[in-house]
């Protein structure tokens, strides 16, 4: 009987009324969404040239070092065959992050 009850519970929980995640944080995003998020940061950085803003945006993805986040995103971008120009944008952001330290002047 316990087995039948558990099976009913699983069918209900997985198919009839599956869990819906709400109010999650960006650090829980799937890696391809994270990669696109970081691509957005890189696209904006291309125009804004403001590493402080870029880092503030990256901070939403977690406590990891920004440069590591971008490196992982680039690996995902390669895996998902992003356009080479997108990779260049991400690389540009990574290059900027390597030279950044808090309070440093913006890299032109």
């Amino acid at each position: 009987m316990i087995g039948i009850g558990a099976a009913i519970g699983l069918v209900y929980g997985w198919f009839i009324n599956p869990v819906e995640y709400v109010n999650t944080a960006p650090n829980s995003l799937r890696k391809d969404y994270k990669a696109d998020y970081i691509l957005m940061v890189a696209e904006a950085y291309k125009v804004e040239q403001n590493l402080d803003i870029a880092i503030r945006r990256l901070a939403l993805l977690g406590e990891e070092a920004p440069i590591d986040m971008v490196s992982q995103a680039m690996a995902t971008a390669v895996e998902y065959q992003y356009d080479p120009t997108d990779l260049v944008l991400m690389q540009t952001l990574a290059d900027g992050l390597r030279t950044w330290y808090p309070g440093s002047p913006e890299v032109p």
């Binding site: 819906e20 995640y21 709400v22 109010n23 999650t24 944080a25 960006p26 829980s28 995003l29 799937r30 890696k31 969404y33 696109d36 998020y37 691509l39 957005m40 940061v41 696209e43 904006a44 291309k46 125009v47 804004e48 040239q49 803003i53 945006r57 939403l60 356009d83 120009t85 997108d86």
Partner: protein, 302 residues
């Protein structure tokens, strides 16, 4: 009698066990091994994170000019009418607590979602990082002036390039502001020719509580033109702003709040008729008494 007491105790034992079990389960689920959300989609983000995501998508749109990509990014948020969401957020974020670039991006993305891609607007925005919006204008912050052409395409990855910006110190300490043509690297052709002042009208509208400088820019066919840079100069300062940032008032519309006792000169960055000697003036409105009047300037291409 003894059996009934034993039955009662048994029920209490069961209930106590159940309560203890629930407590243990909650402690286990909340403290020892809480749920970790992984591999989630943007649609599940908390509303404030969704707003950040939307603003970032708008900033990326400003950079790339790729509306389709921006739409795809907004679609994954799955929050209904994306145009409504973006324009609503743009309006809500104009409270001065959010970065101006993000507010501008949201406004422009909202306009683009309503009207289609706005290459002229994007070009103007992209080539003028962080336009000053203060009325002091006395800082020595360099102003980057660019007029390079950018080719926006609908390809997934834009290949837009721009020339190296020319950094020119802002000089605005002269007693009387003069309109000095800005140096340009390459001429920016304006289809239809330079904008010509068609109408200059003083408005005494009791609904306008502040003295506005209202500008409307239209092309030769009478269609509103977004993204036209407007330069306002006054004694000791200047401001740059763009048409189309208030799409609800028209894509060719822009306004500026004048200060009392200041005389303003205005021109469009793309050339055309300069307007000088504009001041905030009071007027007598029927039923409202003495109020600040506004100036309405209409420009169009011949």
């Amino acid at each position: 009698m003894r059996n009934r007491d034993a039955d009662d105790r048994g029920s209490w034992y069961l209930l106590t066990g159940l309560v203890i079990g629930v407590i243990l389960g909650i402690v286990y689920a909340w403290v020892l091994w809480p749920i970790e959300y992984i591999n989630t989609a943007p649609a599940s983000l908390r509303p404030d994170f969704k707003a950040q995501y939307r603003a970032l998508a708008a900033s990326a749109y400003l950079a790339s000019g790729n509306l389709e990509r921006a739409k795809t990014r907004l679609e994954v948020l799955k929050d209904g009418d994306m145009t409504l969401q973006v324009s609503g957020q743009a309006a809500a974020w104009m409270d001065g607590t959010h970065p101006e670039s993000e507010v501008r991006g949201l406004n422009l993305l909202a306009a683009a979602l309503q009207q289609g891609p706005l290459p002229t607007l994007l070009q103007a925005i992209q080539t003028t990082p962080s336009p000053t919006s203060t009325q002091t204008g006395l800082s020595s912050t360099p102003v980057i002036i660019l007029t390079s052409s950018i080719d926006f395409t609908a390809t997934p990855t834009p290949t837009a390039t721009r020339e190296t910006p020319t950094v020119q110190p802002k000089i605005s300490l002269t007693p009387a502001p003069t309109i000095t043509p800005l140096p340009t690297r390459t001429p920016t052709p304006t289809p239809g020719g330079a904008f010509v002042l068609q109408k200059q009208e003083f408005i005494c509208n009791p609904n306008l509580t502040l003295p506005y400088l209202q500008i409307e820019v239209m092309d030769a066919g009478g269609a509103p033109v977004p993204g036209v840079e407007i330069i306002v100069l006054w004694d000791g300062g200047e401001d740059h702003f763009f048409t189309g940032l208030k799409p609800d008032l028209g894509l060719g519309y822009a306004d500026f709040v004048m200060s009392q006792g200041v005389t303003y000169n205005l021109r469009l960055a793309e050339g055309g008729t300069p307007v000088s000697g504009i001041t905030a003036t009071e007027c007598e409105a029927p039923g409202a008494g003495r109020i600040w009047g506004s100036w309405y300037l209409s420009f169009s291409q011949p």
